[in-house]
């Protein structure tokens, strides 16, 4: 099963993913024309501030079992078995908000969409860039993210890699070999300073 995975420690809050997502889901799929579309395209990945300058790119995690499918009264939400993608049929969506209420990741937003003929708000959320992944492309946000905060791959493969890294660290620690830092020193300094800056004058 392939999926978009998030490494929050690598997110620097640049919002490139948001722009790429909005363009990908626009009618014209072109930055320069997308910005004057009516309705304006919106991003389905949401980069949120957390603390200090740490940001988190939140999106639909394509759950299974799938709370949103279970509650959707109009049958607008479905699973694509091939890609394990949860898809919304916007024409069928009645904008009731049930999916948003049950979504554990607060991933669903309501906005107009160029895909529905009548001007009304429908559910928007990540569709794994369905058109792209079924054409051998990686999702737009992953392509846009240059810091490695977003990746795309087989979930077991990703876990295997992570496990290998954990194993290596454990072995190095056991053998008293210094462990190389995952995050460059200066970035840590930056994040510490920014955290301290956001707390200046706060009551301790």
């Amino acid at each position: 099963m392939k999926t978009v995975y998030i490494k929050p420690e690598n997110c620097i809050g640049c919002k490139h993913c948001e722009v790429a997502c909005a363009v990908e889901h626009s009618e014209t799929k072109n930055l320069y024309s997308a910005i004057s579309e009516e309705p304006l395209p919106i991003s389905k990945i949401h980069v949120m501030p957390t603390f200090g300058i740490m940001a988190y790119p939140g999106k639909c995690m394509h759950c299974d079992p799938t709370p949103c499918i279970q509650v959707c009264p109009s049958g607008a939400i479905s699973r694509d078995k091939e890609t394990d993608t949860i898809l919304i049929n916007e024409e069928k969506c009645i904008g009731c908000g049930m999916c948003a209420i049950v979504c554990p990741f607060s991933a669903v937003l309501f906005n107009p969409s160029w895909r529905v003929s009548v001007d009304r708000d429908v559910a928007h959320k990540c569709d794994n860039c369905f058109e792209r992944i079924t054409n051998d492309l990686i999702p737009a946000c992953v392509e846009a993210c240059k810091t490695g905060a977003l990746g795309y791959g087989d979930i077991n493969e990703i876990i295997r890699e992570e496990r290998r890294a954990v194993g290596k660290t454990a072995a190095q620690l056991a053998a008293a070999i210094p462990v190389e830092e995952k995050i460059p020193e200066l970035l840590k300094v930056w994040r510490d300073l920014a955290l301290s800056m956001s707390q200046v004058g706060e009551k301790k």
Binding site: N10, C11, I12, G13, C14, K15, V47, M48, P49, T50, I53, M54, A55, K146, T147, G148, I183, P184, E185, L186, L187, V189, W190, L193, A194, S196, M197, S198, V200, G201, E202
Partner: protein
């Protein structure tokens, strides 16, 4: 009860009240906009994006993976250095262009072509003319001023190849600049050269770029800014100590209230004069007002405070809140630090927002263009607009936070020397005796990323407690003014030694030296002390700090202060941490080169510790004893 959220934004009690009012009136402020900008882009914060050509925009992965270079091959060091150099150039351009406007008006005034201006300080005119080698004997002031202004114009050009005021630096410092090849040749030239060097495919060596960055900063501190200060003194008078009041409480319910905001004294001085014109005051009274209240914001406030004792409404983050009092009939702006957001806010309260500079228009504002040949008439026109607007004021929407705070300002280099009896020797004696541990210049802006004024005020308090004499300019000085620290009685909050000296002289433990271009006054004083001791500026127990900086001008200032040999602590993080090499150079490497470095420390308590440690090290090197640390 004021909402917790507003208490967290500022320590200025009048600002807190106005934030509450802004909230009730549904006014969006700078703090709200910062919130909607968050998270801010890490590439920008780290300085590793470039859009200097159309192969880009490019950015570098700060985690060390691909991309490590822009399309052209520029790496993080080059990108960060180029971006920083451009910030310094923009800051230097702003100060220097302000200086240029003053020079032009001095020239026109000498030719008798202006209205409202005169050569006020003839003694200073002659002194500065002397520095430029101009013969002053038996010549009328207009003739001297004309020649001086023309000489100053050459400082902006490419024929002279040196800056006169840089000669004020001590010999050792001048040697350092010459040996490094960073002696400034001319004001405009260094700025233009930065723009050239940082365009696609020119200078890629981060050290070389940063050295030019230092050179352009010197052309600001010892050039454009110093010209702005000295020539303003000639036109409007050299400041002397005087009392005034500060915070939003200076506005009055029953007067026409005018706020001047921006930087250059050319416009604000005329508004001051016009608001004192008998015919104009009569007009205000006819409209039912009891008179005209004029107050300032940002550095133009400091200019007219220093010379005329005009009250100050607040510093940078007060500009929007001032209008939300509903009591500002006109806000008159020239340039720099003017938020475009003033237009919609002014609209909500029938405040006339008047732009005056052809260089700084804002859509939606009324533009009354400033013209030195009709300056006084234009000043009157502006005040009349305010009187007109007073008639439209809605009293139900007025809410002025009361209780303005008393403050003292006007400490020009000349005034400080005057207070010391004509020489810096008493100050040196106090430093040697350890009564004054050292001197720290706290300068710079407000930045909504730091609780307003908290950085300035906390740092200043810690330093004076430890007998460090604090000198200030800009929005930083307004912050401590609002906190009640710019009065002689504040000496009680200082350590024993500093308290004794301040009391003996009848001055505050913190000296307000003027606007941001007046940091040149600080350089002048530092140079005088160093020369008196026959040492370099970098040998002195002095330090600089910008605890809440935000503009590019502050970057230029930081650079020239460090390039002049003064250790400087920044509060907000500059966009350089994307390059380990540039960061290393700024925080360490520069020490070996110019004898001073930058440090970044957002927490003012810790910044105070850094500064005291630095001062004590310098004292030790000079063979002076170290007074004990700790609050009084």
């Amino acid at each position: 009860m004021i909402k917790e959220e507003f208490l967290e934004r500022t320590i200025d009690s009048t600002a807190r009240k106005s934030l509450e009012k802004a909230d009730q009136d549904r006014i969006e402020t700078v703090w709200d906009r910062l919130e909607s900008q968050e998270p801010q882009c890490g590439y920008g914060l780290l300085g590793i994006c470039c859009r200097n050509c159309a192969m880009g925009p490019c950015r570098i992965d700060p985690f060390g993976n691909n991309p490590t270079r822009g399309v052209c091959g520029a790496d993080a060091d080059t990108l960060v250095a180029r971006n920083l150099a451009r910030m310094i150039a923009a800051g230097a351009a702003a100060h220097s262009d302000h200086g240029r406007d003053i020079v032009e008006v001095l020239h026109l005034t000498a030719l008798g072509k202006t209205s409202g201006y005169q050569i006020t300080d003839e003694e200073k005119l002659k002194r500065i003319a002397g520095e430029y080698g101009i013969n002053v004997d038996g010549r009328v002031k207009e003739e001297i001023a004309k020649e001086l202004a023309e000489k100053a114009m050459d400082e902006y050009g490419m024929r002279k190849n040196t800056l006169q005021f840089a000669e004020r630096a001590p010999e050792k410092r001048k040697e350092i600049w010459k040996n490094l090849g960073i002696w400034p040749r001319s004001i405009d030239r260094e700025i233009v050269e930065i723009m050239h060097r940082t365009t696609m495919g020119v200078d890629a060596d981060f050290v070389n770029i940063l050295l030019q960055g230092l050179r352009v900063s010197l052309s600001d501190g010892w050039g454009g800014s110093m010209i702005a200060t000295e020539f303003s003194d000639i036109l409007f008078g050299t400041p002397t100590p005087k009392e005034s009041f500060v915070n939003l409480g200076v506005l009055k319910e029953d007067t026409v209230n005018i706020i001047v905001h921006g930087h250059n004294p050319l416009m604000s001085e005329m508004v001051v004069d016009a608001s004192r014109d008998a015919e104009i005051i009569k007009l205000a009274k006819q409209k039912g007002a009891t008179g005209i209240t004029l107050a300032g914001i940002c550095c133009t406030a400091n200019e007219i405070l220093m010379r005329k004792g005009i009250p100050v409404a607040g510093n940078f983050l007060i500009q929007e809140l001032a209008i939300t009092t509903g009591a500002v009939d006109a806000m008159v702006v020239d340039y720099q630090c003017i938020m475009p957001s003033l237009v919609p806010i002014a609209d909500c309260y029938q405040t006339k927002l008047i732009t005056t500079s052809p260089k700084a228009k804002i859509k939606g504002a009324t533009h009354i263009e400033f013209d030195p040949e009709r300056a006084y008439e234009i000043g009157k026109e502006i005040v009349k607009e305010a009187i007109e607007a007073y008639g439209n004021r809605n009293p139900d929407r007025v809410n002025i936070p009361n209780h303005p705070v008393k403050m003292m300002a006007g400490f020009s280099a000349e005034a400080i020397l005057g207070a010391l009896g004509g020489t810096v020797q008493p100050l040196i004696d106090a430093i040697v005796a350890g009564k004054i541990r050292g001197i720290a210049a706290i300068v710079g802006c407000n930045n909504p990323k730091i609780k307003q004024d908290y950085g300035h005020v906390t740092l200043a308090k810690r330093l004076i407690e430890n007998n460090v004499l604090v000198i200030q300019t800009g929005c930083s000085a307004i912050a401590t003014g609002k906190a009640g620290l710019l009065v002689p009685e504040a000496a009680d909050q200082a350590g024993e030694g500093l308290k004794e000296i301040a009391n003996a002289l009848g001055v505050p433990p913190i000296l307000h030296m003027g606007s941001c271009v007046d940091i040149s006054r600080i350089l002048t004083v530092a140079a005088v002390i160093a020369k008196e001791l026959n040492v370099d500026i970098s040998d002195l127990p002095v330090a600089g700090a910008a605890p809440e900086w935000m503009t590019e001008k502050a970057v230029a200032i930081g650079a020239y202060v460090v390039a002049s040999g003064i250790f400087t602590v920044l509060g907000p993080i500059p966009p350089v941490l994307g390059s380990a090499n540039v960061t290393g150079l700024l925080t360490q490497g520069l020490g070996d080169v110019v004898g001073a470095t930058f440090a970044v420390e957002p927490d003012p308590e810790k910044a105070a510790e850094l500064i005291i440690k630095h001062i004590d090290e310098k004292r030790k090197a000079l063979g002076l004893t170290t007074p004990p640390t700790g609050a009084s």
